[in-house]
């Protein structure tokens, strides 16, 4: 099994081409989509996703993102997640945000580590939304055990120390951590950060259950090559 997910910046580069990209992902039966809700200070992102976010923020706010994600839900049959930063959820009000996005499978918050997750998790539970936790090359076995235990959706394995948009590689230590995370895990382990092509996917899926592709998808969507990019992944 090797699940494939695509990350798209909401409404980027335009609403139309964003929805078109969602259709392409559905046509090629991608296993899940992550819709990025832009934030003014995306410290976990490299310059490609950051500048896409800044572009969208010139004309839109979170209400537009929620509306567009409702459309996505109609166009895409598999799992749907929102990826964003803590203040988008907090600044809207956690309850209000959760109530508005109850139709998605889960939330991924780039600056919400496990240790700070309890409050939001309690709110999300009420609306049937899962909170995705991260494992990273810096995580200890004890950390990983806790995260495995409290996850009820996939575990996001961050492939490298770094931000989005780098190159893909799993060093020996990290590979061992992926294997450890997957051992007896009731949930999928999905590798993200730096995945660019079929070779990277193959490499990641030797150890994990799947991958998510972000920066490369955003870049190809912007340049007009999204269809062939996704086609070549499968």
């Amino acid at each position: 099994m090797c699940k494939k997910g695509i990350y798209l910046v909401c409404d980027y580069p335009t609403k139309d081409s964003f929805f078109e990209a969602v259709r392409v992902c559905d046509d090629f039966n991608m296993d899940f989509l992550e819709i990025g809700f832009p934030f003014s200070d995306p410290v976990a992102d490299g310059s490609i996703i950051e500048s896409a976010a800044f572009d969208v923020l010139k004309k839109e706010n979170v209400n537009n993102f929620i509306e567009s994600t409702k459309e996505v839900k109609k166009l895409f049959r598999n799992k749907l997640y929102i990826m964003t930063y803590a203040n988008i959820v907090f600044g809207c009000g956690m309850e209000k945000f959760a109530a508005a996005v109850g139709f998605v499978d889960g939330l991924i918050i780039a600056d919400l580590p496990y240790i700070e997750s309890r409050r939001l998790k309690n709110v999300l539970n009420k609306y049937g939304i899962n909170l995705i936790h991260f494992v990273t090359p810096e995580s200890s076995c004890a950390d990983i055990d806790k995260i495995k235990k409290s996850s009820n959706d996939f575990i996001y394995f961050v492939s490298t120390r770094g931000i989005t948009g780098g190159a893909f590689s799993l060093d020996d230590e990290t590979r061992k951590k992926v294997i450890y995370t997957k051992q007896n895990s009731k949930n999928d382990v999905i590798v993200g950060f730096g995945i660019q092509n079929k070779d990277d996917i193959k490499e990641a899926c030797r150890y994990a259950d799947g991958v998510v592709i972000g920066t490369q998808a955003v870049k190809n969507l912007k340049s007009g090559d999204f269809y062939s990019f996704v086609r070549d992944l499968v």
């Binding site: 976990a44 803590a86 700070e116 810096e138 120390r161």
Partner: protein
């Protein structure tokens, strides 16, 4: 250790940084207990940095505005601002942890200079991130950092000010977390930074309390400090927080209190999450961090340290704003009356007292003069061209 001040603070960072933060906390706790480390810090504070700094009775300013004003002269500290208290402390902590590479953000350039200085002293590699706009308006400090051997990286994204510089430093840290210490310059960021920065700035309040008791045989009625991220303010406030002394934090009112034209976070903001902590934040109704403005690069920041948010909510410290033009007036007045050219940041604290002199009538007021204004002469010259 507690990660929160009331409901404020926490560790809102990518998971990848969590190990580094807990190692930092543990190292800090050991550092505090280590007598050799303590002695080494005291040695540098005294013989290298020039502590203790004087407490000066500003006679001419006092008679002009009708109250008794003392200035805590952090402007006389080596490198010209209180920032060195924190960088000397943290660089020794970094050495204690075996880190060899130091990264830092800077706004006014004072923290960058203080970091570059401490790194030169201990022979460590140093990279400073600075917004492009700040590199232009605080160019003397850019030259100083380079002379001190630091690499200065121009940040040309987002606001191109302190906020973008912190974003970029965090990104560097996530990549290089195994070898690098992030020497954060204000009482902001994820736990344990606000606690660490306060610990190293407390020396201001400790000294000032003793000095004013010696000079006046009493405590001051009010203690006033400017607040950017809040490090100089938390440092001096810590000396008086248990006393019945009125404390005022002065933020940058910029051009006006309309969103986008000021940096008065506690005065005008609401709680939000930026740079690792839950604290007051200037943001729009949708949770996007707002554009901010201040004539002073060191105050031009939409966030504030979490302990200040707590002190505001419990009513222990009052926070208010001083506008650009009021700070400029204070800058000029203090220069003329006392022969002291203050940093534009510190001028906000002075400006607030001048503007509200009736509130302080016949009172004993202690102002933290957090830095000197040499770095700001370019800004003043360009305003003079425009006749401001």
């Amino acid at each position: 250790m507690k990660r929160y001040f009331g409901e404020y603070g926490g560790q809102f960072v990518p998971e990848t940084l969590m190990r580094a933060l807990s190692e930092l906390e543990e190292a800090f706790l050991n550092f505090k207990k280590n007598m050799d480390a303590k002695k080494e810090l005291e040695y540098y504070q005294k013989n290298y940095a020039g502590r203790q700094t004087p407490l000066y009775y500003a006679k001419n300013l006092s008679s002009r505005i009708g109250c008794r004003v003392y200035l805590k002269r952090e402007d006389l500290l080596h490198t010209g601002a209180h920032k060195l208290n924190n960088t000397l402390g943290q660089i020794l902590l970094a050495k204690f942890m075996g880190k060899k590479r130091i990264i830092a953000e800077t706004g006014a350039g004072q923290h960058g200079v203080a970091t570059a200085t401490a790194a030169a002293l201990l022979g460590m590699e140093c990279v400073v991130y600075m917004g492009k706009k700040d590199m232009e308006r605080q160019s003397p400090n850019v030259e100083r950092m380079k002379l001190l051997g630091a690499e200065v990286v121009s940040v040309e994204k987002g606001s191109m000010t302190l906020k973008s510089a912190i974003n970029e430093t965090l990104r560097d840290w996530v990549k290089n977390v195994q070898t690098t210490h992030y020497l954060l310059g204000s009482a902001v960021g994820p736990h344990p930074f606000p606690v660490i920065v306060k610990y190293f700035q407390e020396v201001i309040g400790k000294e000032a309390r003793k000095q004013i008791l010696k000079a006046e045989s009493r405590l001051p009625d009010s203690v006033v400090a400017c607040v950017g991220g809040g490090s100089n303010a938390i440092g001096i406030f810590s000396g008086f927080v248990k006393d019945s002394v009125d404390m005022i934090g002065v933020e940058a009112g910029g051009e006006s209190l309309e969103l986008g034209k000021h940096s008065a976070t506690l005065t005008m903001g609401r709680p939000g999450i930026l740079h690792g902590a839950l604290s007051y934040l200037l943001q729009d109704e949708y949770g996007q961090v707002a554009d901010v403005h201040s004539i002073s690069a060191g105050l031009d920041y939409p966030g504030v340290g979490p302990e200040h948010s707590y002190l505001k909510d419990i009513g222990r410290v009052r926070y208010d704003a001083c506008f650009d033009n009021e700070a400029l007036e204070a800058f000029r007045l203090l220069s003329r009356l006392e022969g002291i050219i203050p940093a534009l940041e510190s001028s906000h604290a002075v400006g607030y007292v001048i503007k509200h002199s009736e509130l302080f009538k016949d009172k004993l007021v202690l102002i933290n003069l957090s830095g000197r204004g040499d770095k700001d002469l370019g800004i003043i010259a360009s305003l003079e061209e425009k006749n401001v």
